[in-house]
Structures are given as C-alpha cells and as structure tokens.
C-alpha cells in the first residue's frame, strides 16, 4: 500500500465558489438554493437544450406513457371506495334492479362507485378507457419501432424492456378486468382456471394456489387486487424509468432526410419547443380520454349481475388486448375427424390427461410473445448487421422485415378476430362454424399471403422511388417535340427530397460461410436461408453513375432546366 497523499484534488476556492455567488434575480435565487444542495444546474445544462427529433409517429410512446399516468391517478381514486372482498353482502345501494341481491362486497362497492359516488362512474370509465389506450398505444408504438428498424443496435435492450412493458400491461389489464366480480369477468377467470388446469404436472396446483382451493373460492379477487394495484404498477414504473433512461442515453432515432446522418440528431431543443409540445400533449391525451369516459359507456357492469358459475351471456368478449388469447382457443379443433385430441398418457400410477386442444393454442401465443422479445437479436443474426443505427429505415427499404412484420400482424389479427367469431356470424348472417373454418384456413394461409403481397408492394414502391430519382415526377403536361414525338414532361425533384429517396442501404444476400474447420454448419445454412428470404429480391438504390447518366440524358434531350445543384453536380462530374 502506498501512502495516501493529503494533497486535495480541488482548490479551496472551488469549494467556496458556491457560497460566493450573490443571486440577483428570482431565477437566480431558486436555482442557487437548489444547486447548493443537490447541484441541479448540471442537469439543466445537459438537458435544457437537448435536441429531440420530431415526427408524428414518435408520439405513440408518449400516448402510452400519459395513458398510464392517467390510469394510475384515476385508479388511486377508485381504491378509496372499492373493497376487493369476496365476502357475501346484500346490495342496498341506489341501483334498483340489484337491490336485495346477494353479491360479493367487491361487486357491491363497484356498483356503489358507479351509482352513489359522484364522479365515480366517470373515474371508472376514465380508468378503463385509459387502460385500453395504454395497451393500444404501446402496441402501435412497438409497430412503429419494428417497421422502422428502431430496435436495431444499440437499442436492442430497450426493445426488450418495451416488450416486458407490453406483457406487464396485459397483466395489469387482465387483473383489473377481473376485480368487479361480475358474471363477465368471472367467466374470464373461469377460462384462466381452465387453461391453468391444462398445464401438465403443475397446472392443477397453480389453479389451487391462485384460487385458494377449488374455483372460484373467496380468495382470488383480493389476490388479484394486490397484484393489480401494487406489484404490477411497481414493475411497470420501474420498467418505464429504465426505458426512458435508455432513450436519453441513446438519443432518439430520426428518419432519413437531408442533413441527417448516423452521427447527428436533427430536431427541436427540449426547451421550449419540445417540452411545450410533449407537455401539451399530456393534456391532449387526458382530454381525449375524458371525452371517451364522459360520452362512451364502457363495461356496464351493472347489467351483468354478481358472479355465479352457472350463467353466461351470449356474445361475451374480453377486452381487446386479451382477444387473441381467447380467439386462438376458439380456432383449435377439439378433435380431428373422430379422433379426440385429448388423451390419457399411460403412466404406472394410472394415467395422466393431456388436453391438447388447450395446450396447442398456447404455442402461437408463446411464439409471438417470445418472438417479440428475441427479434432484434434474430434479425441481426440473419442479416449479419453489427453496426449502430440511428437513422431509421423507411419500411419499403427493408422489404424482408416489413413483409415479415405484416405476416405476423395478420397472424395476430386472425387470432384476434376469431374472438369475435360469434358476433361476426350473427352480424353477417353466416354460419358460426363456417366463420371458424375460414379463420382456421386464414390462420395458416394469411401470414404467407401477407408476406408475399407486402414484399411485392415494398419492391414496387422502391421502383417508384428509383423512377422519381432518375426521371422526376410526372408533371401532367404533354409536350410535343420538334420531330413530332409526344411525351410527358417530368419535373426533377430538388436535392433535399432526392437525398431521402437515395440514402438507404440495400444489403445483398450473404451466402453461408464455412466455419474455422471449413464446414458449413446446419445453423449457418439456416441463417443463409433466412438471409435469402430477406434479401434475395432487391431493388438497388440509384447509384451515382446511374444518376449522372440520367442527368446528362436529360441535359442533351430536353430543354427542361435542371435544378442548380443538379447542374453543378453534372458539371463537376465532367471534370
């Protein structure tokens, strides 16, 4: 151990500097007070003018954040009156049709909130609309991030945090949906119980432990309540903090365009423009949710009656984000021909039941959810792309990814739509069975068709971009040339628009490469196969030679004036 020097690192003047300053203005006094205690001015210096790119598609994440905040605040209000007890009580509140009916305290206090607490109905509806909007905004935000490639390095981990937020959001929604203990949500829990029991080996006991015995018991609502108002919101808050912290670390992505590079951020400074827009937007989201809560009824739980295991309404629907879980259950046939998919596995102690009609639908759910989590790593592995990306892809310029994303969306929406198969059949006077059978076909065919069609559309759009770059926009004016030929005039686009159309990367297929031992592994072969699916069909961006050739072509043939920049470029290329 060396002797520690007592020589200070900072001078005495530096320490006392903070006490020397005599504030003259109010801003000075306040900032000085804070700064002497926590040293906050560094933060203002760092963030006060931090640049934030602006685009309307960047607001979905904000909508999600604000919806969550509004849901937390309205939820806190609800907890003052709602009592999650399953103890039996007789309803004595002011809603006449339910008076004298025996019900759980949870349902009775949910009715009390709706009918006897002033503003309670509004807050309940605000809470429910807020929750729906929260999940919806997260989903749309993730689609934006996916289709623009914003999840790529260095943001893969933040994508994973976002996926965890989505799952936590689904959990928050479902636990909340189940709390009022009426017939609709009770049947939702019944379905969860049935799904749990299908899990081999541990499922039956998970159900026992969740419900405190056999379904439904009198324990589950208070337990869901703990999860709903404490555990899950805490998880969501922590994840949001991590998510936003990483946004600050990475700085936001930006769309391609003039002036934008991988090394810079183009946008508005946080103060005042971005802060005003984002802050104002919190109020806009609140206003829209208040409008929904005031004008559009949601979850009219007084119509359903207290939970009882025997009734159920026809046309029951879960909240929208649970729809795909329910729909995929509906799509699965219980037997193929006369062979039931449920069977008993012979075991020495007498046999165990395997409920494939419930287990198989969990596969697409697991594939989609897990696929979401691992996609950034999977795509990087397929493409071999190890670079940092801060400039977004226009979806058309990544046809493989866009097509795959659309295929997964179609897959999801088939399952989601299946949750309303009975309503579709009734609305359109179709056979219930036919609707399911068609959806079963679409379940397999839909994603494939979506992949092919989307990819073709992307390639066509890329060709159109090439056309605009090389020949300009159609002017809608027909010219007659001196020798009698008619042709349509094209207007060249300016360099700023042009740059957006040409500035993208278009990777080629990277074939399978042998490893160190000179062998091409099976894994590498499958990587190369997927890589081919991604990049085989490609439209190359316009190259400099092609562009210059098109310019000189124009120059010789037409009297149309070139934009100054284009002429200059042409001239310089000649020397």
């Amino acid at each position: 151990m060396s002797t520690q020097s007592l020589e200070p690192k900072y001078t005495e003047a530096q320490y006392s500097e903070v006490d020397q300053y005599q504030p003259a203005t109010r801003t000075g006094r306040i900032s000085n007070y804070v700064d002497q205690r926590v040293g906050g001015t560094g933060l203002v210096r760092e963030f006060g003018r931090k640049v934030f790119p602006d685009h309307w598609t960047f607001m979905f994440g904000e909508v999600a954040l604000y919806s969550f905040l509004i849901t937390v605040v309205s939820g806190a209000f609800l907890t003052f009156w709602f009592d999650p007890s399953m103890a039996s009580t007789q309803y004595e509140g002011s809603y006449a049709p339910m008076q004298g009916v025996e019900m759980s305290t949870a349902y009775a206090t949910a009715l009390e909130l709706s009918f006897d607490v002033r503003g309670g109905l509004f807050m309940r509806q605000l809470h429910h609309w807020g929750a729906l909007m929260f999940v919806m905004a997260m989903a749309v935000h993730m689609l934006r991030v996916f289709f623009t490639g914003a999840f790529r390095k260095p943001r893969e981990l933040n994508w994973v945090v976002g996926c965890a937020l989505l799952v936590a959001g689904l959990g928050a929604g479902f636990t909340g949906y189940s709390l009022p203990d009426e017939v609709l949500s009770g049947n939702g829990l019944r379905i969860i119980d049935g799904m749990l029991k299908a899990i081999p080996m541990v499922g039956t006991y998970i159900s026992f432990f969740l419900f405190g015995g056999e379904f439904p018991g009198d324990e589950v609502i208070p337990r869901l309540y703990s999860l709903h108002i404490f555990v899950i919101p805490a998880v969501i808050l922590i994840l949001i903090a991590v998510h936003l912290f990483m946004v600050v670390v990475h700085k936001h992505t930006q769309y391609p365009g003039p002036g934008r590079t991988e090394r810079n951020v183009v946008g508005y400074p946080i103060g005042p423009v971005y802060a005003a827009k984002a802050g104002g937007f919190l109020f806009v989201v609140f206003g829209v949710l208040a409008l929904l809560a005031g004008l559009f009824q949601i979850n009219a739980l007084w119509n359903y009656g207290p939970y009882d295991p025997s009734p159920v309404q026809a046309g029951t629907q879960p909240d929208w984000y649970i729809g795909w879980f329910d729909g995929v259950l509906r799509l699965m046939p219980g037997s193929i021909g006369d062979i039931s998919l449920e069977f008993v596995l012979p075991t020495p102690w007498g046999g165990n039941s395997v409920a494939l009609p419930v287990l198989i639908p969990m596969i697409p759910i697991a594939v989609l959810l897990l696929g979401l989590f691992v996609w950034p790593f999977l795509e990087a592995w397929i493409t071999g792309d190890k670079k940092e990306h801060h400039v977004l892809d226009r979806p058309r310029n990544a046809p493989g990814r866009t097509a795959f994303g659309m295929a997964m969306m179609v897959w999801y929406f088939v399952m989601w739509g299946a949750a309303s198969s009975d309503l579709v059949a009734v609305q359109f006077s179709l056979s219930l069975n036919d609707v399911i059978i068609w959806l079963r076909v679409l379940f397999f065919l839909g994603p494939i068709l979506a992949f092919i069609i989307t990819k073709r559309i992307c390639l066509a759009l890329q060709r159109k971009d090439r056309e605009i770059v090389l020949h300009g926009n159609e002017a809608g004016v027909i010219e007659m040339l001196p020798h009698g030929e008619f042709r349509e005039k094209h207007n060249r686009v300016n360099d700023y628009e042009l740059f957006t159309l040409v500035a993208y990367e278009s990777p080629e297929v990277t074939p399978a490469r042998p490893n160190a031992k000179g062998k091409v592994s099976l894994l590498e072969k499958s990587r190369a196969g997927l890589n081919r699916v991604f990049f085989e069909d490609r439209v190359a961006p316009v190259s400099r030679e092609e562009y210059l050739e098109a310019l000189s072509h124009d120059h010789h043939e037409s009297s149309a004036a070139l934009p100054a920049a284009a002429s200059a470029q042409l001239e310089s290329s000649k020397h």
């Binding site: 039956t204 405190g212 810079n264 806009v284 639908p361």
Partner: protein
C-alpha cells in the same frame, strides 16, 4: 419503368451489411434545407392572431373547469335516477375534456406558431470511450482480486450453494395459498350430487316433477343440498361443479345406449354437467330443433341426443352425464354423483 427498373445489382450503391461503408449514395448529403419563415415570423398581425387563438383555447379550458363544477354540484342525482346520472357523467366528461384539451391544444399551438421552429443539429456522443471501458474493466478486475474469490474456491462454492438455496423459502412460504382441509386433486372427482338428491330449479329451489317437464324444454338445475352450504365461497365452489342442464326430448330421439348408461335417463329426460369440458364456461345455449348445446365462450357444440358428444369446436370430451331417475313422489332425483370429474381436463384426471 424500362431498363432502370431494378437497378444494377453490381452497382456501387450495394452496401453489404457489416462493412461499415456509409457513403456511396447517388448524391451527397445536401445538409438541412433552408429555413422557411412562418407567417407569424414575418407578419406581426399573424403573430397577434396566433396569440389570440392560444388564449382563446386557454379560455375554453376555464369554461371546461366551470362545466365540471356545474356537473358535480348543480346536477342533483337522486338515488336511482339514471337519466340525471348520465347527464352528470356527460358534463363531468365534457368539462374535464375541455379543461384539458384547452390547455393541451393551446400549448401545442403556442409551440407551433410562436416558438422558434429552427431545426437544430446536435452531434451524437459516442456511446462509450475505449479508455473508460479499459479503466472500468481494470477496476472490476481489481475488485475481484481484492475479494480473493478466485484464490479461495471454498468460499465461492459454499456461497453459490447458499445463494441457490436461500430463495427457496420465498417459494415454499406460498404453500398456504390453499389452506383447504381437503387439499389435493381427489376433491375434483366429487360433487355434492349423490343418490336421491333432488334436482331443483336455480335460484328458486323448487323441485321438478318429471311430468311437469314438456318435451323440448331445458332447465338449469342445482342439487337441493346446495342451499345448505352457508359459506359463500364454499357454496360457489360447490355450485361451480354441480350445475346441471336438464333436457326433455322425445325418447326416440335419444341414441340407443347399452350397459349401465341405459338407466341414466328417465322417459326422454336427460341431464348433463353445464360446465364445458374445454375450459369451463357454462354451456348456456340450447337449440331445440337440433338438440345441440352450444358454449357461448368458445363455441364448443355438443349433441344432447348422442350422450353430449362434441360435434364442433375446441372441446375434446363429451359433457359428463348425470344419472337421474324419479323418487316416490315423482320428483326428479340423481341416481348417483357424476361418474367422472366435471369441467376442464386437468393433468391428474387420468
């Protein structure tokens, strides 16, 4: 389109991912387009107009808040007056909506029309410096060395063992989430149905005489003994397993059966568990013409005439049948409990 359609695959613009090549575009980055001033930037009148718009929106917000107070204090909702409740809810909603949208849209318009709209370029900082990484790695190595964990594997191994075991109590302590006396899967094999228990209507509790059931009718019934369970949770759990549908058909419509099931029906009256064998919803819809039962949750369809065989949908097993007969007074009673567990399939069902 012509010959330029797909471009030249061999062209310069081909960039292989991972090569880190970033130029090669058809034109160089032209930089930010020149800033175009807004009307409010050049015309003081337009700026004034924008200012008035923004403060008008703020005024709307104030009106909204007042509207909320009117809804809350002035609209008197007497108990059970749903019309007034709806009016109150609408006013509260519109009030908050105006209050919030007024502020929100006002501030956004302020930012759009009056605050500077110059786009600014800021350089991205590299995510990390190599010297920082090297220093951090060195620090971590020093810390690890100072703990001596590498030199003393006994410490390391016993710590790993302890750390693996220590979280287990957190799992074990959840064991009492189910404190039932009859804990285990055996209880799922039984319901409160037993020989001689009358089938009664729910919720009135009136027993049913076989002669009173007309052909084509369907009744939702529970065991007479259900009401004797006083504890709410226990009663619901008992009911969740014992709800039964009672259907009367023409005896000829019932498919013939052999063995002990022959005596499970009574003059065309047949009873089954109402709990779907798929995931447990009540099978609540009956179509008289086809004697099909349909579960509204996932559309499993069962045929009452063929011992409730599954004819469509995701269920994998028929609904369990409850053997019934009549007692001395002509009331319908159970012959026994269900002969198999009711409800969704579970692993230990066998």
């Amino acid at each position: 389109m012509g010959e330029h359609g797909n471009g030249d695959p061999q062209s310069d613009a081909v960039i292989r991912a991972g090569e880190g090549k970033s130029s090669g575009h058809a034109i160089d980055n032209p930089g930010l387009p020149p800033h175009r001033p807004r009307l409010a930037d050049v015309d003081e009148k337009a700026a004034k107009r924008a200012e008035r718009q923004v403060s008008a929106l703020f005024l709307i917000s104030i009106i909204g808040t007042v509207m909320f107070f009117v809804g809350y204090f002035v609209v008197g909702v007497t108990a059970g007056d749903l019309e007034m409740l709806r009016l109150q809810n609408t006013l509260l909603g519109l009030g908050v909506a105006f209050a919030m949208l007024g502020i929100g849209l006002g501030v956004v318009q302020w930012a759009r029309a009056l605050m500077p709209d110059h786009e600014v370029i800021e350089d991205r900082k590299p995510l990390r410096k190599e010297e920082d990484r090297a220093e951090a790695a060195a620090t971590i190595n020093e810390i690890v060395d100072e703990t001596q964990i590498k030199r003393r594997p006994l410490l390391r191994n016993t710590l790993i063992g302890a750390a693996l075991l220590a979280p287990l109590p957190a799992l074990v302590v959840l064991r009492d989430l189910d404190r039932s006396e009859d804990f285990g899967v055996e209880r799922m094999r039984h319901t409160i149905w037993e020989e001689g228990v009358r089938l009664v209507r729910d919720p009135t509790g009136t027993p049913i005489r076989a002669a009173d059931l007309t052909v084509g009718s369907v009744v939702h019934v529970v065991p007479e003994t259900l009401r004797e369970i006083s504890e709410h949770g226990e009663r619901l759990a008992a009911k969740a397993k014992s709800v039964v549908l009672l259907i009367r058909m023409q005896p000829d419509d019932l498919a013939p059966v052999t063995g002990e099931q022959e005596n499970w029906t009574y003059e065309g009256i047949i009873a089954c568990s109402k709990v779907c064998t798929h995931v447990g919803c009540p099978v609540a819809l009956y179509e008289r013409q086809t004697h099909h039962l349909l579960c509204p949750c996932h559309q499993s369809t069962f045929d009452a005439a063929q011992q409730f065989k599954v004819i469509f949908g995701p269920a994998g097993r028929p609904l369990p049948q409850l053997p019934i007969t009549v007692d001395d007074e002509g009331f319908l009673v159970a012959r026994s409990d269900f002969t198999e567990p009711v409800g969704p399939t579970y692993w230990e069902r066998g």
